[in-house]
Amino acid sequence: MAGSIPESAFADRAAALAGAAAVSDRRWDALRRAARARLAPFGAAVLIAALAVALAAPVLAPYDPYAQDLGSALQAPGRAHLLGTDNVGRDVLSRVIWGTRVSLVAGFVSVAIAALAGSLLGIAAGYSGGRVDGLVMRVMDAVLSFPPLVLALALGAVLGAGLTGVLIALGVVYTPTFARLMRGQVLTVKARDYVEAARALGAPAWRIAWQHVLPNAAAPIVVQASLSVAFAILAEASLSFLGLGIQPPGASWGSMINAGRGYLQQAPWIVFGPGAALFVTVVGLNFVGDAIRDGLDPRLRG
């Protein structure tokens, strides 16, 4: 849903109802898969284009994203400025191009932090069982007790405005999802005969975790990660929109949209440029995430 974070909270409860919901999910997925036969390539194209733009920003951007030119402020899109200029005469296109970097970094790095931290916690919890398991999972429940955006806002406030604070905040918000997923995988794999055999042969715990648990758990973690990136990008944009992320004059889609909202009447293009970039990227990444899920996790298919 818009402006927020995936709803993995209280997934346990959803699992309780899985009996009823599984069939419907499958049908929905089957239909979406049919649609995706066309849409996955679109998603991949968007992702590749975004990566290329982010990497080649210095070359692609027609103007310096920070260069103010009050003489040409609030110019409508035209030949000189394809997406127009903002209230201090900066080229909107150049700022959208540079903003791609922020969005992608925010999406990928925060999810990487969460996947790493969550996996380690999940392995620790699932493997040790008992008190450690109880404590780790209750802490994860506590994190899930906050509405994601509110938690990210509070953490961002405490950590200070800026990209680092946002990355850590989003990392924390997404960690429980991965911890739960990993713990579940560990518990499943732990009960398998080959793990029993490895333990009987005297293999140390870390070796079992590395050789048996991780390879089995990798696919769902990758699936979850790919689905989370789009939401993380939305979340970063939301935080930047509220003023917590990248600080001015830095260019982030969310902060550009916030800066432009005072000029909706005279210069709506200040909002539309970064808004379109954000929307297309999120839609594209959603398609990619779905495609990766279908490819890696056949159980979720119909």
Binding site: N258, L264, V271
Partner: protein, 314 residues
């Protein structure tokens, strides 16, 4: 049923304890001295020391935590640094616009989602269905601050039909109040409608394929009757699940919506407190939101047991 409620309540206690510990720790996560973050450089040292003493920050952390918890248990959530009023009063003054927004958004989302999902499911794989699924995808990927600005641009700036910011209480001003809430509620409601449409459509499709639907049709019931009495009723449970799961997202969405439309709600209070570095207020409001969130999830859990007795028996 009573056992289910008792069980859920008990399971909540450790989580609540950890939540309070987390909220308490928030203040101590600030890099450097929290007092410096809250007060300007120029404020003289005695004022800073006074605030430090008032917040108990000069004492050891375990003592601070015990004192803070003690006050919490007596219902004292602390005071805002900015206006000196208790957190509770700050929140209660703001709660009405938030509730009105949430209710209106919920009403809008269900008004859109139900007909759309039913039409999509009944006319499966047709143009109507594609419209429904496209709408769902659109609503899920659209950031709501962007949607808010698009609505403002279209209905506020271009067509000038509706006010674009500010709040008038519909309970006092009636129509003017409803008008002031329309754009925010549509912003918040559309995203929710997307998720509900998607869930309801697929659960309707499942219900339509059930044997009892064939039986109902075979005994000659009108199709509208079959849909209403047999299909819709059985398709509602996943919708309740999704509404429960979406609660957190809805609260986050409300924060942004209230910010964009300058509604004086609780979400706006959070943002304002964060930027004023009013940490006691941030702590208090966030704790209240978390407790409210936990309570509503509890309610959803209990609701399942009520809707579907099979869940109670597990």
């Amino acid at each position: 049923m009573g056992r289910l409620i008792a069980h859920r309540l008990l399971a909540t206690i450790p989580v609540l304890l950890l939540v309070t510990a987390g909220v308490f720790a928030l203040l101590h996560l600030t890099p450097g001295d929290p007092i410096d973050a809250m007060m300007a450089e120029s404020v003289d040292a005695t004022a800073k020391d006074a605030l430090r003493r008032e917040l108990g920050l000069d004492r050891p952390i375990p003592v601070q935590y015990a004192a803070w918890m003690g006050r919490l248990l007596r219902g004292d959530l602390g005071r805002s640094i900015r206006n000196g009023e208790p957190v509770i009063e700050n929140v209660s003054r703001r709660i009405r616009p938030s509730l009105e927004l949430a209710l209106l958004a919920m009403a809008i989302s269900l008004t859109i989602a139900f007909p759309l999902a039913i039409a999509s499911a009944v006319h499966h794989n047709t143009g109507v269905d594609r419209l429904g699924t496209t709408f769902a995808l659109f609503g899920i990927c659209m950031p709501n601050f962007l949607l808010a600005l698009l609505l403002i641009f279209l209905f506020g700036v271009t067509l000038r039909w509706l006010p674009i910011s500010g709040y008038v209480d519909p309970l006092e001003e009636g129509w003017a109040g409803v008008r002031s809430l329309v754009l925010p509620a549509v912003t918040l409601g559309l995203a929710l409608a997307a998720v509900v449409t998607r869930t309801l459509r697929s659960s309707l499709l499942d219900a339509l394929a059930e044997d009892y639907v064939r039986t109902a049709r075979a005994k000659g019931l009108a199709e509208s009757h079959v849909i209403r009495r047999h299909v819709l009723k059985n398709a509602l449970i996943p919708v309740v699940t999704v509404l429960g799961l979406q609660l957190g997202t809805l609260i986050g969405g409300a924060v942004i919506t209230e910010y964009v439309f300058a509604l004086p709600g609780v979400g706006r209070l959070v943002v304002d407190a964060v930027f004023a570095r009013d940490y006691p207020l941030v702590q208090g409001v966030i704790l209240l939101i978390a407790v409210g969130f936990i309570a509503s999830n509890l309610l959803v859990d209990v609701l399942y047991g009520w809707i579907d007795p099979r869940i109670r028996l597990r």
